[in-house]
């Protein structure tokens, strides 16, 4: 019985130490990556490729997600507020929900699923096939060549995607409000513009930039430290998506509390 207890304690302690070591390892990686983001020369071609990949090719999925979210939001809000001055309330709730929360969070989650998984899989494959080792022997620093362009592109693209997603989401609410709920278009637009606040846009953009940092850092970290062949690539991909998503949902609360708490 005592032996079992000691073994249990030992195993738990080992896992805890590994966990703490991994967090430390992550922060070392984070610091190094940030250093290389600011250190010239920048691989502009690689950054541009990443911008196309992260920004342009994510537009359809972000657009669809936010458009339908705006539509659902308008419908649900209307059902709850039919007895009140609905035009104003629906427009306001769609606007506030999309710009403050749904736009950034849904965009972040979609990009984490699409781009985070891709980044992790790409870098992990390079790791297990010795391509990263080869880079180091060919006069190139892997952090500068592989990781920094992904972080820079994420920091540029995700805020832009959120701004576009917000617009499309509000449009989705407008489409439902006007064509299904028969609201007055002028009144609805007037209400939307009246409640549009700069702080909401700023907060959404700050969130997006932080999500961009989270997605790129977490994905690159898991990819960069992958091992054990195909299994390692799978682990890196899954972990990057799960941890990015959890961190997005956690950080959105913290940022909201900082802005509006």
């Amino acid at each position: 019985m005592l032996n079992f207890f000691l073994e249990f304690l030992g195993a738990t302690g080992k896992k805890f130490i590994n966990f703490v070591a991994n967090i430390g390892h992550f922060f070392i990686f984070f610091g190094s990556a940030i250093y290389w983001v600011f250190k010239p020369p920048w691989y502009l071609k690689k950054i541009f490729q990443q911008i196309i990949d992260i920004g342009y090719f994510s537009l359809p999925v972000v657009g669809l997600t936010t458009f339908f979210s705006g539509m659902v939001l308008a419908l649900q809000t209307y059902n709850g507020f039919t007895d009140f001055n609905s035009e104003t309330t629906v427009a306001r709730i769609v606007l506030t929900s999309i710009t403050r929360e749904l736009g950034p969070v849904l965009t972040g989650l979609m990009v984490a699923g699409r781009i985070g998984a891709k980044m992790a899989a790409e870098i992990a494959t390079m790791r297990v096939t010795e391509q990263i080792d080869a880079l180091g022997t060919l006069g190139t620093r892997p952090m500068q060549y592989l990781i920094a362009p992904k972080i820079i592109a994420s920091l540029i693209c995700i805020p832009l995607l959120v701004l576009i997603g917000n617009t499309i989401g509000i449009l989705g609410g407008y489409v439902i409000a006007i064509y299904k709920l028969n609201f007055n278009p002028s009144l609805y637009l007037y209400a939307t513009m009246e409640y549009l606040q700069l702080i909401d846009i700023i907060q959404g953009t700050v969130k997006a930039a932080i999500f961009g940092l989270i997605i790129s850092m977490v994905s690159c970290y898991f990819g960069y430290n992958a091992s054990k062949g195909a299994e390692g690539v799978g682990f890196a991909t899954t972990s990057s998506v799960v941890i990015s998503s959890v961190m997005i949902l956690t950080s959105t609360y913290i940022i909201t509390a900082l802005f509006f708490g």
Partner: protein, 257 residues
């Protein structure tokens, strides 16, 4: 510069040991690579040959021991100096390690393009001049590594290693997976690279025919350490049991007649 038999010592490995999680892979490895010498490292799969190569190029850190390349101690060398030193080396990895996202010609000139400004036309011409020697068709230059066969990938990796005429060449199983004709071509190329540039090469291989063609000196790694050293000819007269197992499948007369 340290010399031996009037030849410069290019790489000197002393008392090198390496283990992973208490599993000892290499123990007290000592050898030297001289200028103009072609050294072959043989040993069973999993004997630590690739680990030794990775220690030499700084991808792995030895537990103890010293690695001196061109009079510079590699172990604990600051990263920027290590990178500078590695620029003088041409390295191929066991599985090629070509960059999937780059075309073959971009892979071949990668190091040169990092060192000097080179436009696409010049880059392709440079890559073409190298692949010609390796029996590859020019059409593969514009393809990605995933679009060519494994043997071709191996040759593109060799082209990347010899681009820029580095004086130290390190090959990890350069002829594995190649047909005998291409394998022989690669061996010839390694020999030529060593002779014409006055370079030195370390080749890890299981291919004993290849060893006979390219090596001036052979090292056998067995049970974590160097268990035999000699010339290819001495190999065939050796009483070492492991060496005999290695040369058993081939007929020495083919190579030395």
């Amino acid at each position: 510069m340290e010399k031996r038999n009037n030849k410069k010592v290019i790489i000197k490995v002393s008392n090198l040991s390496k283990s992973f999680n208490n599993n000892i892979v290499l123990k007290n490895i000592n050898f030297q690579l001289l200028e103009g010498e072609s050294l072959a490292i043989i040993g069973a799969s999993g004997s630590g040959k690739s680990v030794l190569l990775k220690n030499i190029i700084g991808i792995l850190q030895p537990d103890k021991g010293s690695i001196v390349i061109n009079d510079t101690e590699m172990v604990n060398l600051p990263r920027n100096l290590k990178e500078k030193l590695l620029l003088d080396l041409g390295i191929t990895f066991q599985h090629g390690a070509l960059f999937d996202s780059l075309k073959n010609w971009e892979n071949i000139i990668f190091k040169t393009a990092n060192k000097e400004k080179i436009n696409n036309k010049q880059g392709k011409q440079l890559a073409f001049s190298i692949i010609k020697q390796l029996g590859l068709q020019p059409k593969i230059l514009d393809l990605y590594p995933s679009e060519i066969s494994g043997g071709m990938q191996k040759r593109v990796a060799i082209a990347r290693a010899i681009c820029g005429n580095p004086k130290i060449l390190l090959f990890d199983e350069p002829t594995s997976g190649l047909d005998p004709v291409t394998g022989s071509l690669i061996d010839q190329l390694i020999k030529t690279a060593v002779k014409t540039v006055g370079g030195s090469a370390i080749t890890i291989t299981h291919d004993m025919a290849s060893v006979c063609r390219i090596a001036d000196k052979v090292i056998l790694i067995d049970k974590q350490t160097i268990s035999w050293t000699g010339t290819p000819k001495e190999m065939f007269n050796s009483t070492n049991k492991k060496i005999q197992e290695f040369i058993k499948p081939i007929n020495s007369e083919i190579f030395f007649k």
